[in-house]
Symmetry: C2
Subunit: 433 residues, 2 copies
Amino acid sequence: MMRTRPLKVALLGCGVVGSEVARIMTTHADDLAARIGAPVELAGVAVRRPSRVREGIDPALVTTDATALVKRGDIDVVVEVIGGIEPARTLITTAFEHGASVVSANKALLAQDGAALHAAAGEHGKDLYYEAAVAGAIPLIRPLRESLAGDKINRVMGIVNGTTNFILDKMDSTGAGYQEALDEATALGYAEADPTADVEGFDAAAKAAILAGIAFHTRVRLDDVYREGMTEVTAADFASAKEMGCTIKLLAICERAADGGSVTARVHPAMIPLTHPLASVRGAYNAVFVESDAAGQLMFYGPGAGGAPTASAVLGDLVAVCRNRLSGATGPGESAYAALTVSPMGDVVTRYHISLDVADKPGVLAQVATVFAEHGVSIDTVRQQGRQDGGGEASLVVVTHRASDASLTGTVEALRKLDTVRGVASIMRVEGE
Amino acid sequence: MMRTRPLKVALLGCGVVGSEVARIMTTHADDLAARIGAPVELAGVAVRRPSRVREGIDPALVTTDATALVKRGDIDVVVEVIGGIEPARTLITTAFEHGASVVSANKALLAQDGAALHAAAGEHGKDLYYEAAVAGAIPLIRPLRESLAGDKINRVMGIVNGTTNFILDKMDSTGAGYQEALDEATALGYAEADPTADVEGFDAAAKAAILAGIAFHTRVRLDDVYREGMTEVTAADFASAKEMGCTIKLLAICERAADGGSVTARVHPAMIPLTHPLASVRGAYNAVFVESDAAGQLMFYGPGAGGAPTASAVLGDLVAVCRNRLSGATGPGESAYAALTVSPMGDVVTRYHISLDVADKPGVLAQVATVFAEHGVSIDTVRQQGRQDGGGEASLVVVTHRASDASLTGTVEALRKLDTVRGVASIMRVEGE
């Protein structure tokens, strides 16, 4: 039963993702209509530079006045693919006020103001969908929100930034250093001219905040997410990882504490065993590994970015929101009923791989081991080797049992004060065992 | 805003999955209520043997009269985890007639009678959800039906049977033969006493029919699925696969033809490159690889069977169906609007790895090559080796370029007629390149 009056869609932004959304809406119009139960029509496209030629988009639809577009009153769904905080935030809330539902791909905004946006959507009885905001094309938010709705998620661990995965994969497979791998990523278009948001983990942290919120039914703010970039990962770290049967990935990890009463969210490079499904995620691909009480271990894999993949996620949301509008229903809103405490990084419990430069003389290992013991950090293995360079230095590689981040930090501070410890070459967490 | 009148759930079947569904409904009652917006109550449990002790289930709820239970009229959702065709089919249609929506884990029934069940659901304005019917806990049907609703899926290729993946993985990693690996699977509880449904591909074929229907918006009947089991895969095949940089998996493959006008669905063992994400799926895990126009390559990975994982999928559906009931909406029904032709196996185009036992004398290769050429099957590589056993026999391994199954079948028939070909040791398709 097909309704003939089309649903009207306003597109905010017409860059890489927006133009692909517009293209698919045109080329797959019949398919979309069949799936929704009514045709969808592109009713307006707000852009900053209207002079740019946009193939396949009727110039009469193009406007620079995004505010007027969302205020028109006849718009059913606003698709926001501008990115950034403002004007996206105001446009979205204005859209709700004027009767539209919203599909957004805006991770930064959702991570920072998700609660307020959800509240605005709820107040006006409208939908806010944002599958494209995390892990691009990979259906992830919907499975977490809906398929696992009857389960209890204990951990979400993911490679959610394609740029850094490309760089780390390159370092792993070629032995290249960070800068060399970054240069290649830039040359191939996988890294932006200013790669800070990616390599320093800001992008991944925003996604971690969104994922943690959905997984644990708890508000997790961007500030709650511990963040450590991957610019200091070295070829030597990869060599250490290989000796452990591991590789290194930049991971976003959202965990429920063992007692169930609190959660943590963090982004940092970590060693993971080569046998872990995340270890084989290559190039710019993303993957998210989910552990739950009943379902067990699940993984979702796919392209994390790019115009067409992101547009695919946007269109999936668009179909759902349009179907909701036709039936007069709304999809699941924000779910924060669990209201768990978000604990700081110091409470995180994991294992550590620590490389120390030490004096090559008797008794050093005993000193170092004493410091670990005093801080309650139990050592799993230790490996000591002379540097062979005649400088009287040796390296000591310590792998710990599980310990809190606070204990480890205390241990490292005390180690630095030892005369015999010349330096802490690297500290790397070990995950996924 | 919490409604206080509970939604009533009737559970049909209380075996491994059903008892886990009942357990989670009890232990996670508050969570479920928060996610749904109303409490859910187990209103009745239909079993065959009421005398069996069922921990945690109020004996007053247990009945042997499933028909009376679904006819009660006050049931909101019927959860069918009996399996098999009858009485499940009649109970489900009766449930729709008496006002209930249905969550089912019944792949055999969905594959055989999905269209009729969807029609019955639609006629009564009720939901029919069945995430648990394919790949257990892995959220797959919902992402395909909803997240990728704006995309065009071209291929679904999956490991959808855990028993056979366990056996093949064991053969690959230990060099064991089929029988030895099957015995271990049986001893560990991964294979049933009668493993026919698994090892002959019947189970996977049912899932392939369901997946193809959803992916291509086309009715695909169980009879449309080509099916070949994995009982004839040998240690020698694994040795051949290793030489190709491949492993062997039992795959369910649903493909859109290059011209877009028809689809095929098939289940058979195949070589896939070790670099393919499906190659690293170990043990009894399942994974489904999806290729679409916009999203690109996605993979969904997780446990394909087991009480708790399957219950997780059932509960995700239960939450969705309950939410739909509260809002007066229904989720997406059957989508068969594309109505594509389902082509027979002969139309499938892929590559082949063929091992021939041939006479060890000059001119054999030329004869064999001529037969391939006459049938329009182009040879990629050929490798000839003497048997070293002095019997005057050699083996010839041919890997073809892409060719239709019909051409390959014709080629093999003609090869068998050659005097110099003593036997066709194996034919294995090569996928995922």
